[in-house]
Symmetry: C2
């Protein structure tokens, strides 16, 4: 991590901003001169436990006011050379991360209240960050060069460690939502990083399965799944020395790809430079295939599954899950009653067909 060149600054309302620079570049933030209202002293959101399932739900009423599809010349993620027009007070940047102005969860850190395990409601403590992948408004992650994409990986790695260190954060989730079809309101290429005060429901479900598997068989469930996919071969997209990408055996989405490092690690911090480089290459390869599937770019969700190294999270295995709701050139998969009300997914493409199509979409 010591090799990543970072410059830290602060936005007008006290939010933290961190610039990550490519070799040869140096970030030069200017003062953020916008007259922003002060942030609330306490977490303005709330978490409530759904007693039907035991799952936490976050209620962030202030997010109704968040920025919604602004004109391109008012993009809050473009650089602002005079510090007066956007969230990024600088003439240029490579990759930048800052605290979300409209956070679903906030206030993690030294002053965070103690969590209460058996509560049914609690303040929405946590952390929500925005990560801009490039200062170019109209590019996309898939179009980044390898060094630039690797810089995003480095930024994810740095922020993962930083958020894991905050009191009140239990799980760190780096993700990208891409495409108006899934509700993205800012087209500038960016992702988000959530520090949740709880284990998310899907993570909890996966960790319980992995713990049970470890107790029964003495080995890691996800390593077993990866070995099974490599052995089967029929759903593999890429498998090199360090990293494997495949369509999972029971894919829930019309387009779904999981990318695993071949070695069991818990989060980005544990990967070697060689592994991170390989992960970057495979990630760019998969995103490129996504955009070659149809005449228009694929809307997708990219989700980094990362874990702490102790407790139940030690059963986790770092990997990236990518998924899309597009089921044909013109049709989307909607999450209707079976999926939304019962979590029971029904797909209309076999994972093997999906893998064939993605293999045909190689560059």
């Amino acid at each position: 991590m010591s090799t990543t060149r970072t410059v830290r600054s602060e936005l007008a309302d006290g939010r933290e901003i961190v610039f990550f620079s490519l070799a040869g570049n140096t970030a030069r933030p200017v003062p953020d001169v916008r007259p922003l209202p002060a942030r609330a002293d306490t977490a303005p959101s709330e978490i409530r436990r759904d007693r039907q399932t035991g799952d936490w739900v976050a209620i962030a009423a202030l997010r109704q006011e968040r920025t919604y599809k602004p004109p391109a010349d008012q993009c809050p993620l473009c650089p602002s050379p005079n510090g007066d027009r956007s969230e990024v007070p600088a003439a240029e940047y490579d990759v930048v991360v800052f605290e979300n102005r409209f956070p679903s969860l906030s206030g993690a850190g030294d002053d965070a209240p103690e969590p209460i395990d058996d509560a049914v409601s609690a303040p929405g403590v946590g952390r929500c960050e925005v990560i801009c992948f490039s200062s170019e408004h109209t590019t996309s992650f898939a179009e980044l060069g390898h060094a630039h994409a690797r810089l995003v990986m480095d930024a994810w790695r740095e922020r993962t460690a930083a958020l894991f260190a905050l009191t009140g954060v239990e799980q760190v989730f780096c993700f990208e939502n891409r495409g108006a079809e899934i509700g993205v309101t800012l087209p500038h290429p960016h992702g988000q990083i959530y520090g949740y005060p709880y284990l998310t429901p899907r993570t909890m479900s996966m960790l319980r399965q992995a713990r049970e598997f470890a107790q029964m068989y003495g080995r890691n469930l996800f390593a077993d799944i990866l070995a099974g996919e490599i052995d089967a071969g029929v759903r593999i997209l890429v498998s090199d020395e360090h990293v494997t990408a495949f369509v999972p055996f029971a894919a829930r989405w019309p387009v779904e790809v999981h990318i695993y490092p071949n070695r069991h690690v818990h989060n980005l911090s544990e990967l070697t430079d060689a592994e991170l480089d390989a992960l970057t290459s495979v990630y760019l390869d998969v995103l490129g295939r996504f955009d070659r599937l149809y005449p228009t770019p694929l809307p997708y969700i990219s989700a980094l599954h990362q874990y702490r190294t102790e407790g139940i999270q030690a059963h986790g295995y770092f990997h990236i899950e990518l998924m899309s709701i597009r089921r044909s050139e013109t049709k989307l998969k909607y999450l209707a009653a079976s999926e939304s009300a019962m979590d029971a997914f029904v797909t209309d493409v076999t994972p093997e067909q999906a893998a064939d199509r993605l293999r045909s979409a190689a560059s």
Copy 2:
């Protein structure tokens, strides 16, 4: 059930169709003369277990060919007096149920294969039915009169008992998807009934919670949730002698209402006539509020949670969950990374605000 007037017939490819009639009406099916291809002898779909979570996923590749937004004069759900133009060969009907021509799950019944508990894949055995709420192409459930809506309840009850009796069906799920915003491709007012060969993931999660609660406290979790809502009062929409409707404490959706009978039953079969009448009234009341929230009708999902009376399902408590993704007059809630990849819901309206708005939308 003996009072419900039903007429049974068969479609051209052997699928079952059942007509339910209002008092004074009699269904008069004509022969279905369409040259439909024969159905497959075996379940053409597959279920696979996601080893990451233990959840089943259904893969129904033939559904890619299903009917997609046909012109109104080719609606497959309108009556077809000559038996040559739609799925309902009859001059008129009140409520009709038939097997889906493009089923996600099929083949439940006497010839169904034995389930294999620890398998990772199996044939997609089950049952998928379509229920048309009215022969009027442009009406909606909310606009049905009480007797007609009660007839739908009776049809749901009859089909629930019929599907529970089929070998290969573990869970029966009656639901309605309404609105193009959630992917509905046929505007004719209709719902669907799924007989799953497994407990759906959300149902499994709810039953595990309820079993744990019963072991700890010796009473039913859902009865406890209902009593708590009635006691709190702040999220109640309607509460009469038999039935209560409320916005749940940890609502996941911008609009979400749960309707419970006040007495613990497992499915529609156990309700008395008086309870079914009350449920019908409250259901129509809630749907009416939904359509008065905004200038255009609300897209929604309605999900009937029904259970068998033995095994882990005995911990279930019949209720209806209604939800909508519309979060303002012009905006939808999209299920992006937090919800889709991690099942971690973030809402931007408090359940108490949502309940206030629905209380203001009384007729």
